[in-house]
């Protein structure tokens, strides 16, 4: 039991399960999944589908945070990527063809990769503090996106693009497969090669890892490029969802939610050890919470209060001070058991 509690995914997993159970108790329909036209529908499926943009962004953010960095520009990158992709589709002769959409997506993601290189260059080569270096693009990016769309909200009609966010594959939402693929690829590359360990080394102690011969510059730059690329894909999914490029609303506040998801998943903002599985759980917690708030009939404008309460609750659950207090409380309860030698676990 105590080993289970010690596991780094215990508390995030517990929070997610608790949320799902609470929802199911409050409204049994929550867990219901129905089949219509060969595709699955229901609240859990919606959560898996709607998680896609935040999941991609949070995935990149996890790597950036592992190197002691932070990427505030992801929302702006989403806006740029969506603007680029939809402007290309809008301007083409055959907006409905798969080829056009593929090219548009590739160009959109390509531009995002370049923006990621820019962030990475500022942080790893010029050694500017990440929060400020990415603030530059966060501010300028939406301006660029507005320039690309001429200040308008570009709308398109294109079935292949619609498929990205709303289509189904094997009964499940296509967007779900996108994020699962992204998570799988990143996990494989980070955990089945030394890259993950090197990334953590850079985050734990940059100086020591430099002395050990780790090429921090390339690794840090790489994480920002990955973050940019994933944000670009998230931007495409967002645009596909509303079939429009909205430079102001695309990815608004997503950087904060993504960072929140990463932290909920147990990755410290101080860098170092990171958990991709934790981030996945973190994003699912946030999405489930959104769905809960919607169900409670709270105006979506007021939902931040709930998020504040949950953030406080979750960080308190994870806080060492609370763990200490809880342990002391348990110890005092079992004070009649005389020999508690320091260091031994108090079995519950």
């Amino acid at each position: 039991m105590s080993r289970l509690i010690k596991h780094h995914l215990f508390w995030p997993g517990f929070a997610l399960v608790a949320l799902v159970v609470l929802n199911t108790v409050a409204r049994p329909r929550f867990i219901e999944i129905s089949v219509q036209h060969g595709a699955l529908y229901g609240a859990p499926i919606d959560i898996l589908r709607n998680s896609a943009p935040m999941m991609l962004v949070a995935l990149g953010m996890t790597l950036v945070i592992a190197t002691r960095g932070i990427d505030l520009s992801v929302g702006a990158v989403m806006a740029v990527s969506g603007a680029v992709a939809l402007t290309i589709i809008d301007g083409s002769d055959s907006p409905g063809s798969v080829g056009t959409v593929l090219i548009a997506i590739l160009v959109g993601v390509g531009v995002s990769l370049i923006l990621g290189v820019w962030n990475g260059f500022l942080v790893s080569v010029l050694k500017i503090q990440p929060i400020i270096a990415t603030l530059v693009l966060m501010m300028a990016g939406r301006g660029v996106a507005l320039l690309i769309t001429d200040g308008f909200i570009t709308t398109v009609t294109s079935d292949p693009l619609k498929y990205v966010a709303s289509g189904h594959l094997l009964g499940l939402p296509f967007a779900f497969f996108i994020w699962v693929a992204a998570v799988a690829v990143v996990s494989l590359v980070e955990r089945r090669t030394a890259l993950g360990v090197l990334t953590e080394a850079v985050g734990i102690n940059p100086e020591a890892s430099r002395l050990a011969g780790v090429r921090a510059t390339g690794i840090i730059l790489g994480t920002y490029v990955v973050s940019g690329g994933l944000a670009g894909m998230a931007g495409v999914i967002y645009s596909s969802n509303i079939m429009a490029a909205d430079a102001n609303a695309a990815g608004e506040l997503i950087e904060l939610y993504a960072i929140l998801a990463v932290v909920l998943g147990g990755t410290s903002l101080a860098g170092g050890k990171f958990s991709i599985a934790g981030t996945v759980i973190g994003v699912l917690i946030i999405q489930t919470l959104e769905s809960t708030i919607l169900f409670l009939g709270v105006s979506s404008a007021q939902s931040p209060v709930f998020f504040a309460a949950v953030v406080v609750l979750v960080v308190l659950i994870q806080a060492p001070a609370v763990h200490r207090a809880a342990r002391q409380f348990v110890q005092r309860r079992s004070a009649n058991v005389p020999d508690i030698t320091p260091g031994t676990e108090v079995a519950r």
């Binding site: 904060l256 960072i259 309460a309």
Partner: protein, 344 residues
């Protein structure tokens, strides 16, 4: 050095050091002030450039309204400076400003006296700041996340109070904005005086009080500060309370300025404030920074805004130019810091 002679008894021929050497020593000795001076130089350059371009930019009217328009930003920047110098960050300021503003507008609308409302605003800001500070200090929550919780809380509460904007007709609050004290061509409003007072008090506290020095010590090295027996815990909580108080005060000033409370006020303001503080030479890693620098940072920020609106440029260009300006400042500061470190 080549100035020493072979016969020491004959004394040394003293060659006066060249001007560049004076400059070099000055830069090395005052490395921490350099980013602030760079910001000042750039502010002057922007003003000169705008004067040449528009012909009539640097006049008492424009400069007076610069202070008036950015009073709330200035107050927030002072609080933020305290937090950032300890190595923390406070993302909640924009939301706290919106929350206290809309709450005050609502209370005034219900006929509550301004003598109660204004202290309540400041208290409200302080309480949210206290919550963030306690989370940071006693529960080891990272400042970014703790203040993010503050941001969500204050923004949500603002919407709970009202979804629409509420007009403020209270004479005392209106007085803060509508009064003009003229000094020849120049004028000051009570809101501007409040902002300047905040700067003066902030600067004095940072420089001359035990608390202020502890703020620097915590930012320079928390462990060392603790070993020196400084009140680290109290200081770290207090800086967030100060930032919250500044948020409440800024809420008052903004409510007076716009004549209404509005729950969507100040979205993204925290980033403007951080940008202004950084432009003013405060390092986000903590330990280095000046309240006066933040004043300069806010003035730079405000001047750029004014210049862009004079040019009639689009909103999209505003964002790009502010972003580029920020970049320029960061690179300039980086170069200065690197050169100062190399000389050491």
């Amino acid at each position: 050095m080549s100035t020493t002679t072979t016969t020491p008894t004959a004394g040394r021929r003293i060659v006066p050091p060249r001007l560049s050497e004076y400059a070099r020593t000055f830069v090395a000795r005052h490395a921490s002030v350099m980013p602030m001076l760079a910001a000042l130089v750039i502010l002057v350059l922007i003003l000169i450039g705008a004067q040449i371009h528009f012909g009539d930019f640097v006049n008492p009217r424009t400069l007076s309204s610069l202070l008036l328009d950015n009073a709330y930003l200035l107050i927030l920047a002072v609080g933020m400076t305290f937090v950032i110098v300890t190595g923390g960050i406070d993302l909640s300021v924009g939301s706290v400003m919106a929350f206290t503003g809309i709450a005050a507008a609502q209370m005034l609308d219900h006929g509550v006296s301004s003598a109660i409302v204004i202290p309540a605003m400041i208290l409200g800001g302080a309480v949210i700041g206290l919550m963030i500070g306690v989370l940071v200090q006693y529960f080891d929550v990272q400042p970014f996340i703790a203040s993010l919780a503050g941001l969500f809380l204050a923004r949500g509460l603002a919407y709970v109070v009202s979804l629409k904007s509420i007009r403020v007709e209270n004479e005392h609050v209106i007085w803060l904005q509508s009064t003009r004290w003229w000094f020849g061509e120049w004028y000051l409003t009570p809101t501007g005086v409040l902002a300047l007072l905040t700067v003066v008090v902030g600067a004095l506290v940072m420089k001359y009080t035990r608390f202020g020095r502890t703020v620097y010590a915590v930012g320079g090295g928390e462990q060392s500060a603790r070993l020196m027996g400084l009140a680290v815990a109290r200081t770290k909580v207090l800086v967030y309370v100060i930032s919250g108080v500044c948020g409440g005060l800024a809420g008052l000033v903004l409510t007076a300025y716009s004549g209404a409370g509005y729950p969507r006020n100040g979205i993204g303001t925290e980033l403007d404030v951080i940008a202004a503080v950084v432009i003013g030479g405060t390092l986000l890693t903590g330990g280095v920074g000046y309240v006066v620098g933040s004043l300069i940072g806010v003035l730079v920020y405000g001047t750029i805004h004014t210049v862009i609106s004079y040019m009639g440029a689009e909103q999209s260009w505003m964002r790009i130019i502010i972003g580029l300006m920020l970049l320029m400042f960061i690179v300039v500061q980086r170069v200065i810091v690197v050169r100062a470190e190399r000389r050491r």
